[in-house]
Structures are given as C-alpha cells and as structure tokens.
C-alpha cells in the first residue's frame, strides 16, 4: 500500500510571534520550526504503523523552499521512505493542494494523509481540496484508521460520541488527535535519513486564490473581574454595558 503524507513546516509553539513589512509577513528571525504536529504525530506515524504491519511505502510531500528541508529530514528520520519537495512558497491553500494533487495523480497513492490543519494558518482547507481535485472521498478529522485489503475503517469524533466510517481506497483523510502516538526519532533513524531520497519537483502553474494582506496579534489578556455570587444584577450590568456581550 502506498501512502502519501503531507508535511508542513510550522513555527514551534513556544516561538515569539511577530511580523515585518508593515505586518504583511511573518517574522522568521530567531524562530524554531517544527513539523506540524497533526501531520507528524498522527498522519505520519499512523502511515508508518500501517506500512510496518502490512508492507508498502510512505512518501512525504511538502510544498516549500529549501528551508523546509530540515523538517522533511526529521520526517525521514522518524521513518518515511522518501520525501518530495514541490519547490514553491505559498500561503494559499488552493495552490498547495493543487501541487500535491498533481503529484499524487501522477504517482497513484492508495491513501493521502494530512493533518487536520496546520497550527500556524489553521485554514484546514488543503485535505478537502486535494480530495476534490483527485476526485476521491475525504474522511475529515479522523481519530482512528485501520485498513483491511482495499477497505479502510475510520473513526471520527462527532458531537457527543464517535462515528465509524468505511471507505474504499484510494481516499484522502485529515488526521486529528488520537490516531497515533508521537514517535521521537532515534539515532538509527537519523543516520538512515542521511541517505534517503529527497526529490525536488518544480511546481505546476497555478494561480493563487487568496492573498494575505496583513496580520495582527490578538489583543492582550484583559484584567479578570470577580463578582460576588449573590450579586447577579452587577454581573448582568457588566456583561451588558462593559463587555457588551448581552
């Protein structure tokens, strides 16, 4: 079974976030980058587990520049067999999904796995767009994945419980927390990653659908006000006139 796992480079969660160029660009100075946790911990590791159990191959794919290669190398150290970098930089979900779909179409994978979203842009559009472009079913926010022959069984969290979905390969999924446990690369994996192929592929011509105009940081935390439990009138007055939420 051939797995394609989409990997994205994101800032480490402890990074200080700032912007440059009149708040139109993310300031990468001094920022540590990691593999998007939903891609790494859940999608990649589950693909590796299934490969190890049933055979096959795991390819990771990133749409990015050379500066994305360290996180790709980490994914190889965790156990992926080969890596593909589509040589382009874009923040546009359609552009990225189109590049991945083109590669997937030409290399016929059985399952395309994505994290449910990236932790920097959180648009969660790429998995669904890939599925649409490949004309494949999408199972979103999956927390469990098992494959038997050509039939995959997935679980999804739904309001108040879970839903079990069956789908035939090939298909696309977006992985949520619970699908697998984090794997930390060991030295053997790091050594093997040195010689695993990392192929650079030029992008197909696609027009981006969106353009990011500016960023802003959320406003700082405001002071917490305590209201005595028996003073409901005061609470309502504050919610109405000060917070203006009711």
């Amino acid at each position: 079974m051939k797995f394609l796992v989409c990997i994205s480079k994101v800032p480490d969660t402890t990074s200080k976030i700032g912007f440059t160029d009149n708040n139109s660009k993310f300031n990468e100075a001094g920022v540590q980058f990691i593999v998007n946790p939903y891609d790494e911990w859940y999608a990649l590791v589950r693909a590796l587990e299934l490969k190890e159990a049933n055979g096959g191959s795991v390819t990771i794919i990133t749409v990015g520049e050379q500066s994305d290669e360290p996180v790709m190398r980490k994914a190889l150290a965790i156990g992926a067999d080969e890596a593909v970098r589509i040589n382009a930089k874009s923040d546009d979900s359609f552009f990225i999904a189109k590049q991945i779909a083109e590669y997937a179409k030409n290399n016929s994978f059985d399952v395309v796995l994505c994290g449910k979203e990236t932790i920097n842009f959180n648009s969660a559009q790429v998995p669904a767009t890939i599925a649409e472009l490949l004309d494949m079913p999408l199972v979103s926010l999956a927390t469990k994945l098992d494959i038997n022959g050509n039939t995959a069984t997935l679980e999804r969290d739904v309001q108040g419980g879970s839903e079990v979905v069956e789908v035939q390969t090939p298909f696309v999924l977006s992985a949520a927390k619970g699908m697998a446990e984090q794997r930390i690369p060991n030295m053997k994996g790091i050594m093997m990653a040195r010689s695993k192929p990392l192929n650079v592929v030029e992008p197909v011509s696609v027009e981006a659908h969106t353009e990011i105009l500016s960023y802003e940081l959320p406003s700082g935390k405001t002071e917490c006000k305590y209201v005595e439990a028996d003073k409901m009138d005061e609470l309502i007055e504050l919610l109405h006139n000060e917070a203006k939420v009711i």
Binding site: T14, G30, Q32, E69, P70, R73, K74, A77, I184, P185, N186, M187, K188, I190, M191, R194
Partner: protein
Amino acid sequence: MAKTDLFEAPDYYNIDDLLTDEQKLVRDSARAWLKKEVSPIIEEYYEKAEFPKQIIKGLGEIGAFGPYIPEEYGGAGLDQISYGLLMQELERVDSGVRSTASVQSSLVMFPIWKYGSEEQKKKFLPKLATGEFMGCFGLTEPDHGSNPGGMTTNIKDKGDHYLLNGAKMWISNAPFADVAVVWAKNEEDRIKGVLVEKGMKGFTAPEMHGKWSLRASTTGELLFDNVKIPKENILPGRDGLGAPLSCLDSARYGISWGAIGAAMDCYDSALRYSKQRMQFDKPIAAFQLTQKKLAEMITEITKAQLLAWRLGSLKNEGRATTAQVSMAKRNNIEIAMNIAREARQIHGAMGITNEYPMMRHMMNLESVVTYEGTHDIHLLITGMDITDIPAFS
C-alpha cells in the same frame, strides 16, 4: 513526583544558526526523549540513590553512547558538536545520567576505538553503543587522584597472560559494568590499558555509598586480586600516561557542554518562576535585583555556549588543545554552579525542594567540578600553558 518538564532552551545569540540541521535534529530528539522518559523519574531515582537502569536501552537509541564512533563499529559517526549537544541535553536533566554516558563514550569506547585491536573493537564497540554492554574506566586510585602517574595498580607478565593487582576508586558505572578499561603499570613502569571483563576471577566492583552528589549514577571501586588477564585484553595501540589523559580530554570536552545543560535548566526554571511568583503585587521578575540575577545568568550561559561551540569546531578540525579543553571545562562548570545557586535564591524557599531542579544540579556539580581534573588543576593547566612553567610540583 512526576511532573511535566516545561524546559525551554535559551538561545540568546541565535547560536542555533551555527549548528547544522543534523546537529539540531540530534539535540532536539534527545531533548524530547529525555523529557518524556527521564525527567518524570529523575528526582525519585536521585533520592533513592539509584541509577535508572531501564533507560540504558533508550540512551543507546538516542545515540548517547559513543556518538562519534564510526558506523562500522556501531556508532553514529557524528561530529564533536553533536556529541557535545547530547551531553548538554543529558546533563540538563541530570549530571549523573550524563556521567554514565560520558564514561561509556569517552572513557570506554574512545580508548577501545583509538588504541584497541580490530578484534577488541569488533567485540566491544557495537555492544557498548547499544548499551547491551556497559563500561567503566579505572584510572583514579585511593592515593592517586590529581597525580595519576603515581598509580600502584600493576600488571606482571606471566608468559601466556598477565596478572593484575591493585585498586581503583571513584569509578562511575563500576558495579554494573561488563568491561572496565583499567590503567596499570607494567614491570617497566609503563602505563598500559587493560580490558577487565566482568566475571574474571579475583575482580570485584563494590558500590560506594553515602554520596550527596550524582546520586542517580552508580559509583564503585574496582578491586583486583591476582586477576588473570589474557594477553589479547591489553590495548595495543598506545601506552604511557598520555593514553588515559587523551580519554579525559574527550570526556572533559563533553562535560564543558554538559555543564551548560545544568545551567540552562536552572536559568529556565528561575525565569519561569520569577514571572509567576507575585510579591508586593507584582511578579518578582519586575524587581531590579531579580533582573540582575537573570541577566547575568543568560550572559554567562551565552558566553559558555560560544566557548563550547568554538571548542567543538576546533575538535572537529583536530586542533583543540588539552589546555583549551581545560579552560572550557573549568569556566562552564563554574558558571553553572553560580547559576544554580542564584536560581535557587530566586525560587525562595521553594528552591530547596525537589519540586525544582536547582539543589540537585548544585549537588551534582560539586562532583563535576572535582572529577576529570579538579577546578584548581584545570586552572594550573591554563597557567602552565600561558607561562610555560608547570606549577604542579
């Protein structure tokens, strides 16, 4: 008590930019593994004065044992900066865990790799790299610490074998070691390296108790009473005091990185605590005296990081001198000791508890400043290097 390890590594001068992607991957993987597997248990093992043997396999997997040993002998073939970074991460968690790895790497695998026969390398190195074999290093004796050349442990040639007699003291890993690299004088007064294997008749390694330092690492004696040593267990590649001293150079280099780890852990804890602890209606980080402590800590950590990185680069080029290693070991441990104490102060009374790592690091560093060349001896090595006059005798 198991708790989440919140450590965030300070990198004030973007020293990460000087590291290769692989060096960072090695470090970050080790950090993640240590946070998950060792941080939650270290206080408990420190308090019961026990080395957590269950982590040996994992230590082997993250490359803590002989990372710079070539791949053909089971090592990872990494460079010296990667080795340093691994020691930093290990000591960030605990100097005792780092000591176990230092001994295995620099004092056991290094001499076998550098001075061992092909058979010795093939027999021992791959198993030492995985942790299947653990090793120890016997140089220090009860009466010969800073002056190892005065050793009395000796080997006598008996034709088809040697007989080993004597005693070694303060030996990390000794009680559970499968192989001991022991330095002993022959009849011509030349120091030879001897591979003593567990189970050899007349060889015992009793554990030493009562340490207030490096409690999560096992220390013992090595006692040799007419131990019959096969001739093929002598390291053929080099003899003389220079052989064990070259091992110490490698270990001291790792320690100069390790001490930064202990310092970073104390600083990180103090910074976090000072921003949360409220007194006089503001966080104590808002007070000038706290800021002075924190600012001086990060300044010293940054200087130590640059010193270690430069020394690592020189080692990679084969140009680092013994005296340069001494300076880095001496400086980085001193700043770590000072930072541990200042960080303890910032935590107030909470700083003396096992909720925070400073007291453990502080006590550990008392060993680190003493072993592998004492603080004073390293100063005299620098003194000798710049004046050309030895002040040892």
